[in-house]
């Protein structure tokens, strides 16, 4: 038998569930991963990625040395492989990076920087990142991929109740009564959460309402499945609300005590009958009524959603339509209820919490708020920019128009994750300076001028915050490869050099001995974190913020007494068509998303054993469509949109409805975002990854 030399508790680096893992180490390798059965949020459960997919840590492609582009300074830049870089010392690479940043800052000012924080690195890394960008560069242009996933949910929930995080915890799931899952292929995107949801149905007689165009696995556990036409979500949920109002199934007491605008809202939606919604969505009116009654009559009702709701040109409206339902029935503010956007990345919650957004500091303290800004200015010893910065997609626009000239990218891969990649690449080619810190050379870092080798989750300490706001630790388990360093340490080193080159009289503070020092500083500036420190997490395995004091138990669920905005707000919604509808030339609707065995841009999973079980890019095609196209199962197909084309392998299945095809976005050789549309929700600026028009043909 293999005896572990050490077993290190950590947090899974993949999705937002934040599973606690034990890394079994021998000869400086993780040879086995398991999970403690007593510990939230996963109670011993893992999925294929967490248990078998962290071998990317030991992949020979890991970056081990600072790299400098051989044709440094040449524009337009082209993507290059490792052969296009030369190895450098940290001293040389950092100094060169600091000089270029300083030059651009001096020539073009703070607005010339577009920076990408990361949902994959720690809260501490992100805090230092935004401190550098805001405090040293004087820019608020810091954003991250949350913009591309849940920005619509954030915007909608801010309108409805004034807070955007998942309201209730994973631990409550197995005791649910009635719950809605919509726009979330939970078994593949949040596998471990899906087990608790299924447990509620199978073992505890909970009733599940699935609203999804695809026949996802959760439908097998559903009491009611509403299979709507893509892009018609608002109609369904507004009609459910209409039933609840018309049949007086709403929670009058809750509405009176906790909300405003009910009368106007009720009047505005009276014509949105199930029959009206049936016409738009193709879902039988009676099924909508059944779902509405089930949800309204529930002892507790919860709503879970994912990208299917938010990644849409009307993502904010989609999420608002869900918020309306919860407010109508009073299904929020109690255990087993709530508005629960399931967060994607392991630390997408934490990156936002740590200030990785253009308009807020840590825990959503607005940069435009003078008092808040003064607090940070005093602590850091500098003056800060009161103007909210640009979002991810706005930064692309600003770069296209030469306002932004340098990209600083930490652990993100925008050239896989952004829509309409051809455009994004074109912008990248024109940048004056691109600095990337990452663990692999990927589609984005191929454009870097300077590439810093960073440590993976297994080689550093710090905290991740999972989808239910639980702050959890990662710990160093294996040595960093070569000269790779922690992101925060790289940033501190870089920041201090830039400060000196800019001639700042004093540093705003980049001398941390350990990530826990960074957390202490962040907690000091953030009331919601003040009760949490690394030592406490070490003792308790994790703490749900908000947690204002050391003796506060943390907050598994929110809004028991009030909403951050005071009263919940109802919003009557219009139904608008999608940005690009199918036509004779591009007759299919394309939806994109994830599969169980891969992760986002594939940077990690494609370098893992996971790639063996799912090696090729695919497209799901309905059997009737496949017949008409002459496509057989397993056959390669060319998929074209007005923006690009990719070659993928056909899966003939009834999972996607007729007229709709589904393509996972993990495969660089066939990136789904070559096809997608750069159309955005007007409020949240989130692109629509779930609906554009494509054509298919056999290759």
């Amino acid at each position: 038998m293999i005896q572990a030399e050490s077993i290190v508790r950590s947090t899974c680096p993949y999705c937002g569930v934040g599973c606690q893992v034990n890394l079994h180490i021998k000869d400086e390798h993780i040879y086995k991963v398991d999970a403690p059965f007593q510990v939230a949020p996963n109670y011993g459960r893992l999925c294929a990625k967490g248990r078998f997919g962290v071998d990317f840590v030991h992949h020979p492609g890991r970056l081990t040395m600072p790299l400098i582009r051989k044709d440094f300074g040449v524009t337009p830049r082209q993507p290059v492989g490792l052969e296009g870089f030369r190895e450098a010392t940290w001293e040389e690479a950092l100094e060169l990076a600091a000089r270029r940043i300083t030059e651009i800052h001096q020539q073009h000012g703070p607005a010339a920087f577009g920076t990408f924080a990361s949902a994959k690195v720690t809260n501490e890394d992100n805090y230092v990142f935004q401190k550098f960008v805001r405090g040293v560069l004087g820019s608020n242009n810091v954003d991250h991929c949350a913009r591309l996933c849940h920005a619509a949910s954030v915007t909608a929930l801010t309108i409805a109740i004034g807070s955007s995080a998942m309201s209730n915890s994973i631990a409550e799931m197995k005791d649910l009564d009635v719950f809605i899952v919509t726009g979330s292929n939970t078994t593949e995107t949040h596998p471990v959460i899906s087990t608790f949801l299924r447990e509620a149905v199978v073992n505890n007689q909970a009733k599940l309402i699935v609203v999804d165009p695809r026949q996802i696995e959760m439908t097998e556990f559903a009491e009611v499945w509403l299979r709507q036409q893509p892009g018609t979500d608002v109609a369904i949920f507004q009609a459910m609300a209409q039933v609840i109002v018309a049949e007086e199934l709403f929670n009058q007491e809750f509405i009176d005590a906790r909300t405003e605008g009910f009368k106007d809202y009720a009047a505005a939606i009276m014509d949105c009958t199930p029959e009206w919604a049936a016409e738009i969505s193709g879902v039988p009116a009676e099924d909508i009524r059944t779902a509405a009654r089930l949800f309204a009559n529930a002892r507790t009702g919860a709503i879970y959603w994912g990208m299917g709701i938010s990644q849409s040109v009307h993502g904010v409206e989609n999420a608002l339509s869900l918020a309306n339902l919860a407010l109508l029935c009073g299904h929020i503010g109690k255990p087993g209820t709530g508005l629960n956007p399931l967060r994607g990345q392991n630390n997408v919650q934490g990156c936002s919490d740590s200030g990785g957004l253009p308009h807020v500091f840590t825990a959503y303290q607005p940069v435009a708020d003078d008092a808040i800004r003064a607090k940070f200015e005093q602590d850091w010893g500098t003056t800060l920019n009161p103007e909210p910065g640009l979002t991810v997609m706005e930064m692309v626009d600003a770069a296209a128009s030469k306002i932004i000239r340098a990209y600083l990218i930490m652990g993100e891969n925008p050239l896989m994750s952004e829509p309409d990649l051809r455009h994004s690449r074109h912008v990248m080619e024109q940048m004056e300076f691109v600095l990337v810190q990452d663990i692999f050379l990927n589609e984005t870092s191929e454009y870097a001028d300077i590439l810093f080798p960073a440590t993976s989750f297994a080689e550093k300490g710090g905290t991740f915050t999972n989808t239910d706001r639980r702050v959890q630790l990662i710990r160093p388990a294996v040595p960093a490869p070569g000269q790779a360093r922690e992101d925060w340490a790289i940033l501190c080193d870089l920041a201090k050099r830039v400060e000196i080159l800019l001639g700042r009289p004093a540093s705003i503070g980049f001398d941390y001995a350990h990530p826990s020092d960074i957390w202490q500083e962040m907690a000091r500036l953030t009331p919601a974190f003040q009760g949490i420190d690394h030592a406490r997490i070490q003792r308790e395995d994790g703490v749900h913020w908000p947690c204002p004091t050391p003796d506060h138990p943390g907050s598994p669920y929110l809004f028991e007494d009030t909403f951050p905005s005071g009263r919940g707000v109802f919003t009557a919604l219009d139904v608008r068509p999608g940005a690009e509808l199918p036509d004779p030339e591009y007759p299919f609707i394309l939806s994109t998303g994830r599969v169980l065995y891969h992760w986002h841009g594939g940077t990690m999973t494609r370098r893992s054993k996971l790639d063996d079980i799912y090696p090729d890019p695919t497209v799901e095609v309905h059997p009737l469509d496949a017949d008409a196209l002459g496509l057989a199962d397993g056959q390669w197909a060319l998929v074209r949109s007005r923006r690009g084309q990719i070659k993928v392998k056909t899966i003939v299945t009834e999972r996607s409805p007729q007229g709709v095809v589904f393509i996972p976005f993990h495969f660089a050789e066939a990136a789904a975002n070559e096809l997608t549309l750069d159309a955005r929700d007007p409020k949240a600026k989130i692109p629509d990854y779930k609906m554009c028009a494509v054509a298919l043909e056999p290759v």
Binding site: M1, I2, K26, D27, H29, Y31, K32, D34, A35, F37, Q38, Y43, G44, R45, L46, C47, A48, R51, F52, D55, H58, H59, P60, T187, P191, T195, R198, E199, V202, N203, F221, L596, Y597, K609, L610, D611, D612, I613, Y614, P615, D616, T618, D633, G634, K649, I651
Partner: protein, 235 residues
């Protein structure tokens, strides 16, 4: 509410609803278990936890027997010891327990004769290697059902596994013995995590046991990928 019972002569006050095993813990008596696992529903399969209760015709499995007021329980009587020892001996004659350190310890504790049953037919099924993540070496399987339960209503709700056969030929099976990738398996490995004997073991671990280094293990994966591509099988 608490119950008062006697375990090995010691009076114990256990909360109502305790199992005899939980009550024994209160008396600082460790109960040996094989099939029991904190994350799976106890089924009283292995009977290694049996204890003797005064007035009872047969021994009681401590994991699933509710403690009751006034019970007189003996955890080390002759009948208990014989059953535990014989069970270990019979088990050791059936399967490969070399990677079950806890059971090895129990064999030492009960002075089990590892060669007690000469000529006994071992189950000895072939190792199943049909996916990139783990192998199923059922020569080590002692039918604790944990993997089946983990796959079903105790952890994963995926239902790829079932017990099959009957009696001594009981085994864990898939639908018509389908290879794992053709089943509903999602390779969560929750089954691997609860396996007490390494009958389910990750490939990395078994290759390390076989003496491969990490680089070879990684290349092994690539080889498989190529083999798969040649077959042209879509996943």
């Amino acid at each position: 509410m608490t119950l008062t019972l006697t375990i090995d002569g010691r009076e114990i006050h256990a909360p109502a609803g305790s199992s005899l095993m939980q009550a024994a813990q209160l008396a600082d008596v460790d109960t040996p278990v094989i099939c029991y696992h904190e994350a799976t529903t106890p089924n009283g399969l292995c009977r290694q936890c049996v204890v003797e209760v005064d007035g009872w015709r047969v021994l009681a499995p401590a994991c699933v027997t509710p403690a009751a007021e006034g019970m007189e329980v003996h955890t080390a009587s002759e009948r208990v010891t014989r059953a535990r020892r014989t069970l270990l001996e019979m088990l050791n004659a059936s399967i490969d327990l070399s990677q079950a350190p806890e059971i090895q310890q129990q064999m030492d504790d009960y002075q089990a004769d590892r060669e007690r049953f000469p000529g006994a037919e071992r189950r000895a099924p072939a190792m199943l290697d049909d996916n990139p993540f783990y192998v199923r070496d059922y020569d080590k399987c002692l039918m604790c059902w944990r993997c089946v339960q983990a796959c079903a209503d105790d952890l994963q709700f995926t239902y790829a596994l079932s017990t099959g056969g009957r009696g001594y030929n009981s085994h864990v099976t898939t639908f018509f013995d389908a290879p794992m990738p053709e089943t509903t398996c999602v390779f969560c490995g929750n089954c691997v995590a609860v396996c007490p004997t390494n009958a389910l073991i990750s490939k990395t671990e078994i290759y390390l046991q076989q003496g491969l280094d990490y680089d070879s293990i990684r290349r092994e994966k690539r080889n498989q990928r190529r083999a798969q591509d040649k077959k042209g099988g879509a996943q």
